[in-house]
């Protein structure tokens, strides 16, 4: 190998590369105005909204798939893909008729058999769907645009189930895709929603691209959350994952991105000061901080220990740690239901109000038989919400005189460990933190976290016959007043038995550049009606 030849070759290649492409970037000015660059709350690693129930999957799925009904800003389900529906007088037969002209992204028309297959898959995973499935007689297609669902008992909340925004939503997929096992991921992302998923440009962990579906026929009504006409005013939406909040803030200030879903509260003042950026509350339904204890093992198997925690818990500490010094961003929450909604109640919430009483807490703790055993708290460090709550809890319990075993780990490990029913010390756990979107805590309907049915309940497995009684009462309620009464009693029972400890109610901001308009408040980012000037 001759040294000179090699070096000459390298020099040649270098000059070729330099002259090769001093071209302009691909997007011209006009094209840039038709592309919306958005920073989502998390990365879109997989994209099956029935199989994977993370919020970010649902948010993306809302672009690609459409639903039969959709709730609007008044929380009422409105028709979306459905043209009309009919309920038999005994409440057992629901007959639905689809709108004409609905198409999938591959050009095929949307038919009843697609709907039937999709609903079958959805009802195998969704809590309300499972309830319907349990009382189902048959779900069949009558003709290409009509299908019916025959039940053994009436289910008044049918439309809410089909139109709710809580994950998993009843998205309609082509039959061949919907026939996938509900416990396996789909591999094709074809729907009838207003945008197509650009599969070839998807870089999981970094970027997802959606393109306008030109054959989409929006409804005539004005858009309101998941209801009404979903008009796309941009041609392309790019979801760019920026893991570092400081970098995302800088990118928004620089104009490198147009809309940031979840700016952290501490950076919001910087964004507000910038003349080119608008900042507003993302979702008035906010979030509820959740501190769950394991009811199966001591010390929290004794209700007195749990009530000791509620006696000492200071929601202000948690909320400040989560959203900073802006007091308009949080509210104390002496209950489990979203403030500002019809079923909100503070019944039984005295234990969380007023000055914190550490002496009483310590006394309760001692009565429950606690004597300095280590109590494990698993805290995910990679989620700011759980990390902040975990730090505050550790301090709270230390002040109560408890011996805290702080296990710092990641969200994935928390997810697997909280499912273990083994005793702590053998791979189990005693405390963990999470949060619920306010939109999921409007009523007992889709609220898995409020249930007290022991083994079948959510992580922590609380057992509370009083709570279960009121849940049933709510489902059977015939009027709003009856519902409110049932929920008030439920709230009281849940606080007495301490199903979990609510750490407060908090709001998030969302931020966008001033040349973007049409951004609406809601439980998920809505891309229809959003436009951008150059």
């Amino acid at each position: 190998m001759d040294r000179r030849t090699v070096l000459k070759g390298l020099a040649g290649a270098g000059s070729l590369a330099a002259t090769g492409g001093l071209s302009m970037p691909a997007l011209s000015q006009g094209a840039a105005a038709r592309t919306l660059r958005f920073v989502p709350q998390a990365d879109l690693a997989n994209f099956d909204p029935i199989w994977g129930t993370q919020y970010v999957v649902r948010n993306a799925a809302a672009l690609v798939w459409d639903t039969l009904y959709g709730i609007d800003a008044t929380l009422q389900p409105q028709r979306q893909m459905v043209e009309s529906e009919e309920v038999s007088s005994d409440g057992l037969t629901w007959t639905f008729r689809l709108r004409p002209g609905l198409k999938f992204h591959d050009g095929e028309p949307v038919l009843s058999k697609d709907v039937v297959a999709s609903l079958t898959r959805w009802s195998a995973r969704d809590p309300m769907g499972l309830m319907i499935k349990a009382i189902q007689n048959e779900l069949t297609a009558v003709d290409d645009r009509t299908f019916k669902w025959v039940l053994k008992q009436p289910y008044p909340k049918m439309l809410l189930a089909l139109g709710k925004n809580n994950t998993p939503c009843a998205f309609i997929m082509p039959e061949r895709i919907a026939k996938t096992d509900p416990f396996k991921q789909i591999t094709e992302y074809v729907g009838s929603g207003p945008m197509k998923f650009a599969r070839s440009e998807w870089v999981p962990g970094a970027k997802s691209v959606f393109e306008k579906f030109t054959d989409y026929v929006p409804r005539q009504e004005k858009a309101s959350w998941l209801a009404g006409g979903k008009q796309m005013l941009v041609d392309r939406v790019e979801w760019v994952v920026i893991p570092d909040p400081a970098t995302a803030a800088a990118a928004l200030q620089n104009g490198e991105i147009d809309w940031w879903e979840n700016p952290i509260a501490d950076l919001v003042p910087v964004l507000k000061k910038n003349r080119n950026i608008s900042v507003d509350i993302a979702d008035p339904l906010g979030n509820i901080g959740v501190f769950r204890m394991n009811h199966l093992y001591p010390p929290f198997s004794d209700v007195r220990a749990r009530r000791a925690v509620l006696t000492a818990l200071n929601q202000e500490d948690y909320m400040r740690a989560l959203v900073g010094d802006d007091t308009s961003l949080w509210k104390p929450l002496p209950g489990f239901f979203t403030p500002g909604t019809p079923l909100y109640t503070e019944e039984g919430g005295e234990i969380l109000k007023g000055k914190r009483d550490f002496a009483a807490a310590k006394k309760l703790l001692a009565e429950s038989g606690y004597s300095n055993q280590p109590v494990s708290c698993i805290v995910a460090q990679d989620q700011p919400i759980t990390k902040a709550q975990g730090d505050v809890t550790a301090d709270l319990l230390k002040q109560m005189g408890m011996n805290v075993d702080f296990v710092a780990t990641d969200w994935g490990t928390v997810g697997s460990r909280r499912a273990q029913k083994t005793p702590p010390g053998q791979g189990g756990w005693q405390m963990f933190h999470t949060w619920h979107a306010g939109a999921d805590c409007l009523s007992p309907a889709a609220y898995a976290g409020i249930r007290g049915n022991g083994d079948k309940a959510w992580w922590g497995w609380p057992t509370s016959p009083a709570v279960e009684k009121e849940v049933t009462a709510w489902f059977d309620a015939k009027s709003l007043d009856e519902e409110k009464a049932a929920v008030a009693r439920l709230n009281r029972a849940a606080l007495e038995d301490v199903i979990y400890a609510p750490t407060g109610f908090f709001l998030n901001y969302t931020a966008w550049r001033k040349n973007v308009s049409g951004i609406a408040k809601g439980p998920l980012p809505f891309f229809w009606g959003v436009s951008k000037t150059a």
């Binding site: 994977g52 962990g205 620089n254 999470t434």
Partner: protein, 313 residues
């Protein structure tokens, strides 16, 4: 020469096998369950178990390892648990940004560090030497992300000369590709520049003491040509070695740099995969990095022959 290269490649097989076994075992006994993460917040324990079975995560260790090895040898790096995409396509998507970043950093380093080291050696003992060496020690001492943040703030936000984040593929044009990589490359290269400058200086010092340098000076050769034509070539062997070894440093630093500057590269992919327990992705990437590292060391050995004609294989 060709037979040497072939022999070297064969010698890497046992090394890679050990790496593969090591990484696979490490992840097998790790706590944390990808099935639970995938199932999501609202899933029940029965759902999680069903997902585990569908992913084949409940089979014994040797069966999983054997199956994985079999697929690797057929070029199939497996499928990501999380995204359901083939690992090889995930890697293919992400490799260009990382390689671009590393290439730019390498070029920048060599262009900056080698002359600095040469000058420091030439003026050994003077204030020039001391200044350069002090900067070099500073380069070691700062964490990469601090440098990255400061650079982004000064050059991107304040002066608006360069973008804050992101990556443009080379196909979109040379300048957009380059401008997105300048700040990350400088941040990443700090440590590397410091290291190479020191080694260059040390190696050059040794060479400058030699008799033939004295002869060249006595013959009346210009200082520049002495330094760069005679001395540097002879000093090159240790410099090239350290450049090769330092690639491992670069890969590590790339993880942080890619996070700070939002570059969709392999470093971020690895960290995300590790935090999510996406075993096939982790295994594929570590194998890839090891292979690259071994390849680079081979290239280093071949480069020796180019710079030092005495070395023959």
């Amino acid at each position: 020469m060709v037979s040497y290269i072939l022999r070297r490649i064969l010698a890497t097989v046992p090394v890679m096998a050990i790496v593969a076994l090591f990484v696979f075992s490490l992840l097998y006994i790790a706590p944390g369950d990808p099935a639970a993460v995938i199932a999501g917040d609202q899933a029940s324990p029965a759902d999680v178990e069903r997902i585990r079975q569908s992913l084949g995560l409940d089979r014994p260790f040797l069966v999983q390892f054997g199956s994985w090895l079999w697929h690797i040898l057929h070029g199939d790096l497996g499928t990501s648990i999380f995204t359901n995409l083939p690992v090889s396509s995930l890697i293919a998507q992400r490799i260009e940004p990382t390689l671009s970043l590393m290439a730019i950093t390498l070029v920048l380093t060599i262009v900056l560090a080698v002359p600095l080291g040469v000058v420091a050696a030439w003026k050994a003992g003077s204030w020039v030497d001391r200044t350069i060496m002090t900067f070099a020690v500073f380069g070691f001492s700062l964490p990469v992300f601090v440098v990255g943040y400061v650079l982004a703030y000064v050059f991107a936000l304040e002066f608006e000369w360069l973008p804050v984040q992101g990556y443009m593929p080379l196909s979109e044009g040379f300048w957009p590709w380059l401008e997105n990589l300048i700040l990350p490359a400088v941040a990443l290269g700090c440590v590397y520049i410091a290291l190479i400058a020191r080694i260059t200086r040390a190696s050059m010092l040794e060479v400058l003491q030699q008799d033939y340098i004295r002869t060249a000076r006595a013959k009346g050769m210009g200082q520049g040509s002495i330094l760069f034509i005679h001395a540097l070539k002879n000093a090159a062997v240790p410099i090239v070695t350290v450049i090769g070894l330092g690639i491992a440093l670069l890969i590590g630093g790339a993880v942080v740099t890619e996070s700070v500057f939002a570059i969709p590269g392999l470093g971020r992919l690895t960290v995300d995969a590790i935090l999510r327990r996406d075993y096939p992705v982790i295994q594929g990437i570590v194998l890839l990095f090891s292979f690259l590292y071994v390849l680079i060391n081979l290239l280093v050995d071949v480069t020796y022959t180019l710079v030092d004609p005495r070395i023959r294989y």
